[in-house]
Structure formats: structure tokens, C-alpha cells
Symmetry: C2
Subunit: 291 residues, 2 copies
């Protein structure tokens, strides 16, 4: 799995390098800022899931690549904006100073805007499959990162800082903030491979449970790991009184929930059979990760 992940990261990095304007493109500041965040050592989890979903449905990584890269651009934009002083106010991300710390707030806002826009430009380069037109692909992506999903999660997250949050509301935050785009990465991979409606449904269920598991584990790691290992300020969620799983149900129950959700994710793959082997491996890997 380690070799697989490394080779996939490399593949995704190369493709992203091709899709992003060079650092010398004018105006240089914005393109440097875009590249700074995109190449800040991300794990490329969403693109790798996208490619694996495509292969699971008999498609190719090359065909899914524009969608994988579009998702990563959009994920990176969301991190840049989330880190802004008017949002989570984070100084550190993946062990490096955040965009606004390096380039200033104005450029950080614009770099996020530019990566969101580039995400759609790159997605528009995706090949259509017989079952899924470009219209459906763009819509899938826009809904996942729109005001009722990715952005909704960030809104509620922002509004609930310092407040006591119920478990259902926390689930809503996690579903919209994290699971929606992660699920879409997987669905988009399937769509690029002309997945049957049934397979796409299984992949959706897998993606949703995996996305939730991923965020619960993220919350746990914030409490249990060092800043050095995480590459961001550990314990910050707690200090900011953020709505997290450990804060709402405690560490022990959070661990159980993560395990349960990962099981649920893997169960959703069962009807796909052996074709889903890589996705199983990725789910296992995510549960066991330490940062």
C-alpha cells in the first residue's frame, strides 16, 4: 500500500503540475501562491480515491485524472480559505506556514478563488462517458462543493465555535464539510469509467461512510498527536472550542465510531467484489493513519 500510494501521489503531482499555470505566469504572485498551497505536501487522498474508483469500474487512471486534479484544486482552495484569520485562523498547514501567512490575506483569498475556478476549468477537460455527460460531471462537482455541502459545513462550523453542539449537528458538519467532496471524488472516478448506476450507488455509500470515518479520525488525531506529526497546530480544535467528535462523545466512543464507519464503508463495497480490492486497502489505510 505504501508503494502504491507513493506512485499514485507522484502521478497526481505530475498531472497537477501540468494543469497549474507555471510560477512565472503573470501575475507571478497569484500563480506562486496557487502552487505553494497545491504543492505543500498534500497526501492526495481524494485524487487517489478518484483514480481507484475509476479502475474499480473498469476505467483508467488517465481518463479520471482531470477530475482527480479538479477535486484536489477545490480541496486546496477550501483549506486556504478555512485557514484565513476570519475563519479558523491557522498559521500552520502540512508543516508549512499557511497561505495568508506567506502571501498576505488578500492574495490568499484570491489564490483560493483561483484554485476553485481552475478546478472547474480542469474538470471541463474530462472525457465524457456514455452514461455521464459533462453536464452531470460539472453538476456533481459544483453541488459537492456548493452552499449546501462543502460550504455549508464550513458555515455551521464557524457558527458553532464555542457553542455546545449536538451529535446530529456534528454529523451534519462532518457530512457536508468532509464527506460530500470525498464521496464526490469517488463518484466522479466511477462516472469517468461509465460505472453502472448500481456500482455508482455502492461507491456513493462507500464514499459517504469513508468521508465520515476520515473526519472522525482527523478529530481524534488533533487530540492525540503532536503538532510536529500532524504538520498543523495539534489541540487547536479543543482550544478553539470547535465541534469535534472527541469533544462531543469523548475519545473512546470516537474511536469506536471511526472503526464502525470504516466497517460500514467496506461493507458498502461488498457487492462490487474483488474489483474493489484497492478501495478496501485505502479504507484500511485511512483508519490506521497517524497523521
Amino acid at each position: 500500500m505504501k508503494d502504491y500510494l507513493e506512485s499514485r501521489q507522484k502521478l497526481v503531482d505530475e498531472a497537477l503540475d501540468g494543469f497549474l499555470p507555471t510560477a512565472n505566469t503573470k501575475p507571478k504572485t497569484i500563480h506562486k501562491a496557487m502552487r505553494y498551497s497545491v504543492f505543500a505536501g498534500g497526501k492526495r487522498l481524494r485524487p487517489i480515491l478518484c483514480l481507484a474508483a475509476a479502475e474499480c469500474c473498469g476505467g483508467s487512471a488517465a481518463t479520471a485524472m482531470p477530475l482527480a486534479c479538479a477535486v484536489e484544486c477545490i480541496h486546496t482552495y477550501s483549506l486556504i480559505h478555512d485557514d484565513l484569520p476570519c475563519m479558523d485562523n491557522d498559521d500552520l498547514r502540512r508543516g508549512m506556514p499557511t497561505s495568508h501567512k506567506v502571501f498576505g490575506e488578500g492574495i490568499a483569498v484570491l489564490a483560493g478563488d483561483a484554485l476553485l475556478t481552475l478546478g472547474f476549468e480542469v474538470a471541463s477537460q474530462a472525457a465524457e462517458s456514455p452514461r455521464y455527460s459533462l453536464r452531470e460531471v460539472i453538476r456533481e462537482l459544483a453541488v459537492a462543493c456548493g452552499s449546501q455541502n462543502l460550504i455549508a459545513g464550513q458555515v455551521i462550523d464557524l457558527e458553532s465555535e464555542g457553542r455546545k453542539v449536538s451529535l446530529p449537528l456534528l454529523r451534519f458538519i462532518h457530512e457536508s464539510k468532509t464527506a460530500a467532496l470525498l464521496r464526490s471524488s469517488i463518484r466522479l472516478g466511477g462516472m469517468s469509467a461509465n460505472a453502472t448506476p448500481r456500482d455508482l450507488e455502492h461507491l456513493s455509500n462507500f464514499g459517504r461512510a469513508l468521508g465520515l470515518a476520515f473526519q472522525v479520525i482527523d478529530d481524534i488525531l488533533d487530540v492525540t498527536q503532536t503538532s510536529e506529526k500532524l504538520g498543523k497546530s495539534a489541540g487547536k480544535d479543543l482550544a478553539d472550542e470547535k465541534a469535534t467528535f472527541p469533544a462531543v462523545v469523548g475519545l473512546e466512543r470516537s474511536r469506536k465510531a471511526a472503526k464502525q464507519l470504516t466497517d460500514q464503508a467496506r461493507l458498502a463495497l461488498r457487492p462490487i467484489g474483488r474489483r474493489a480490492e484497492t478501495l478496501h486497502g485505502l479504507a484500511e489505510h485511512l483508519l490506521d493513519r497517524e497523521y
Copy 2:
């Protein structure tokens, strides 16, 4: 022309109302914020140009409407982000407090993000024409508001505040910040109407000159009009030492440039003949506007 503009504004407003999630959609804050800025009394110039371009090429306003609304969503996002404290720091827009003044900076950033995203979702609903696929339509839009156009203009604008700016650099700012999206609004209208490549070329030239004229006039009005009339803080460009036409070449030469650019725009329409009558009228109207 006044009746025409009013009826068109109404048509565009109704369509926008249908494309935007209702103010009761959860989370309410973000949808209220999106609607607040979209329905803050914008003149709907870009959508109206888009519809007129479609009709000029034998198409219908109804077919062009998703693209007209997509452009307006994206234009509104750019205003919300431009007004942020870390950008132009404006308190007033169209006579109303700016988004971050009403909803706070965090929500204002997210409302802009949501409108940009919605712009692409709405654009993906556009009908394809025989000559122009959805791929080309999305690409047209993404490039116009991307890091080498709309966002590039804002970057240079931000970086040149308080500095002496040359006329060529000022032209670059205006071309990217204003003309690119305005030109694209017109091109997208043409594309929705299956415009011939030749007509599309004429419309492009028209849009570029008109966009430049529009921004020069905007710069002039900032100096010559009252805040009340403008609905935003008059004289603010000057106070902020922004790169504007009057600041670089003086008021007299700015007026001449606006006239020249409008003439140039209308000249570009000549080969289209009488079909372009409405576009001529719109260009005239823009030159004569007082706010």
C-alpha cells in the same frame, strides 16, 4: 432604452431568483448572504449584454439565460471579495452596507465562494449549440474569471495600490479586471445562439472595447459623482491611491478615452449590421450613464 433595460432587469432577476437557493434553505446564513448581494440592486449589465448578444445572433434570451445568470453570480462573488477588508475594504456597495459589514468577514468570504461555485453549476445547465459544446462554454467562463483574467486584475490592482502605475499596466488591470468577464458575457450569449465564428469574433472585439470603456467611465464617475448617486464611497479610489484612468492621465484625457473606446466598440459591430442595433444602444447608454 430605459423600458428595455427595466424589462430585461426584471427577466434576469426572476431567473436569478429561480437559480439561487431560497433564503430558508439550510444553513440559512449563507443563503441569506448570497441573496443579499445578488439582489442588492445590480444593474444586470453583463446578463443583459449576454441576452442581447444571443438575440443579435438569432438566438433566444431564454436559451442564453443560464449563462447570463452564471455571469451575474460570478460578477457578484467578485464584488463581495473585492470589498473585503483585506482587499479594497469598502463599506458601501450599491447604496447598501457590503456583505462583510452585514454578515461578518467569514460569511462574506464563503458567500463569495458559494456564488462562484453556483455560477458554474448554473452554467452547466446551459443548452449546447451545434458549434459550441458545454466544454467550450465552461472553459470560456473559467478562463475569463481565472487567475490570468478577472483574478489577475484584482491581484495587480492590490499590488499597485499607492504606487505610480504606467498607462500600459493600467490597461492590463482594466482588461483583466473588467473587460475579460464583460467580453465573455457577450461571447457566451453568442455561443448559446450558435454564432458563426466570424460573428463571435466581432462580438469579442465589441466586448473588449466596451469593457474598457465601462471601466474608464467607472473611474471617471468615482471622481465626479457623489457617494449618494454612486451608491458607494465616491472619491475612494483617489483616497486609496488606486490605479485609475483619471489618476494616470487626468480627467480630460479619460473622457476622451471613454468616448474613443465606445466608438471602437461600436465600430466592431459594423460588419454585423442591423442585427446589432440593441448592442449599439447598450453601448451608447453605458457611455452616457451617470452612476
